[in-house]
């Protein structure tokens, strides 16, 4: 079943159009990776899907038109985004960050259970439960941002360059957690990256984005098999 389907998606900032009639979709249970260089429009794609910037075209989620929906309605519909860089609330404690992630949910007990669960998945956050998020390291903040997004119990998780500014080992650890969630719980993920190697490894399907357009798509194997694509975009 198609979870997210964007057709003719055009978006940008004021007079500048970044995305040109993009078509993209995520099937239920897929791990889709979008690769692209700096300025290709990866972050803009994420922000357009989440409704943070105005967009044209057509966006459907579970068959429902969400093109005109507000960011909070989109979260309620089941899309959560881990934004690029610091997606946490630095002045709030780790625990309050997680509570904020559950803002759209009701039922205090199940929220508490989920907090306990993510603190188990990310034990380093458990140790820092009452610390301000701003005092965490970059990797811990990224883990917190992911846990925060998962607290809304999304059907689709959007991840905007989770590896940005992180040490390779930490990045591997993060990807392992995402892969585990995808594999064991069937979480659907749309992840954008510059870091092709790691991302290709776990992708069900890959899009290549260049100056606001999708220039290639297919399975990771298909794209790596194409010499010209491999040299130009994947760098190996």
């Amino acid at each position: 079943m198609t979870l997210l389907k964007a057709t003719d998606l055009t978006a940008g900032y004021g007079p500048v159009t970044v995305l040109q009639q993009l078509d993209l979709e995520v099937q239920e249970g897929e791990f889709v990776v979008m690769l692209g260089a700096n300025g290709a429009g990866k972050t803009t794609t994420m922000r357009a899907i989440s409704g943070l910037i105005s967009r044209h075209g057509h966006v459907e989620f579970e068959g429902v038109d969400i093109t005109k929906a507000s960011p909070d309605a989109i979260v309620r519909a089941g899309i959560a985004q881990v934004p690029q860089g610091r997606g946490t609330f630095p002045e709030l404690s780790v625990e309050d960050n997680l509570y904020t992630g559950a803002f759209v949910r009701s039922g205090a007990d199940s929220v508490r259970d989920d907090i306990a669960r993510w603190l188990e998945v990310f034990p380093r956050l458990a140790e820092r439960r009452h610390q301000r998020a701003g005092s965490l390291s970059g990797g811990e903040q990224q883990m917190l941002a992911i846990a925060r997004a998962l607290m809304s119990r999304p059907k689709l998780l959007l991840c905007d360059e989770p590896s940005l500014g992180l040490a390779p080992l930490i990045t591997q650890e993060l990807f392992a957690v995402l892969e585990g969630l995808h594999r064991d719980e069937g979480l659907s993920v749309l992840l954008v990256e510059q870091n092709a190697n790691l991302a290709m490894h776990i992708a069900s399907r890959v899009y290549l984005l260049e100056t606001g357009r999708i220039v290639a798509s297919g399975s990771a194997a298909e794209l790596s098999a194409d010499d010209s694509i491999r040299k130009a975009y994947l760098g190996f």
Partner: protein, 308 residues
Amino acid sequence: MALFFQRLVDGMSYGSVYALIALGLVIVYRGTGHLNFAQGEMALFCAYFVYQFGEWRIPVWPAMFLGMGVGFLLGSATEVALVRPISKRSPFAVFIVTIGLFTFLNWLDGAIWGNQQLPNSGVGSKQLSYPSLFPNDPQDQWLPFGVSIRYERVGILVLVLVLTGLLFLLFNKTKFGLSMRAVASNAESAKLAGIRTNRVLMMSWGLAAAIGALGGVVQAGLNGNVNLGLMFTVFIYGSAAATLGGFDSPGGAVIGGLMIGVIENLASGYLPKWVGQEMKLGVAFVVILAVLLVKPSGLFGTAKVERV
């Protein structure tokens, strides 16, 4: 010693008003990063309303809550109609707009209620003095060791401390408080968590103006009447209090307000030659300057560290 105690209590009761104005400033600043220059005049507008409610024979406590309701509407309407559309263009312009609102509200008060102090039997007031929340006849005081501790002063102090406690619970123990803190900390991530940030900002401005309204009513009560200049100096003291406590700390605003009130009262009491009644405002200026030089983030504020 007894005189010192009296000055301390008096200072804290005047400081309570500064604390209320500072609280309003801090709530708005935390949420939106704007300094609401009209905070004092919004409070004055509400204080005039409470006078009007008194003319209509509404008892003082219900009148105060109605006045806070007027403040809430005024504050949230300001955010929706003025601040939101203008801050999209330029945050600095918002500052200018709040100065404009400052002048406009003062003009509006004069246009509706005239430029004489009220109540004024000459203009047909039914009330003898501005409604006071606590008993304030001359005999309503304790006289330990021959100094005067007035019920009204103590009542105001208790009222502000209770309000501070309620606000603490609101900020830290409720979902709405969590959303306010989240928006203040990172507005975009708050949106991504499904928080309706526009609504939170509207409510923050409303809440700030409602708290300020209480400050206006208390100040007019202490003063015995309401007039067009009532909140000028109070606003300056309130700004000093917010600077002292830290512009992003509600608790700091309250402590800062009480401290400014006490410093002001002690300075004018013990240094009548140097400070006296006329130079009192200079105390606020000195405090602001000293804080900005020594600890710019204030006593309880968090120093902003930007990662580059």
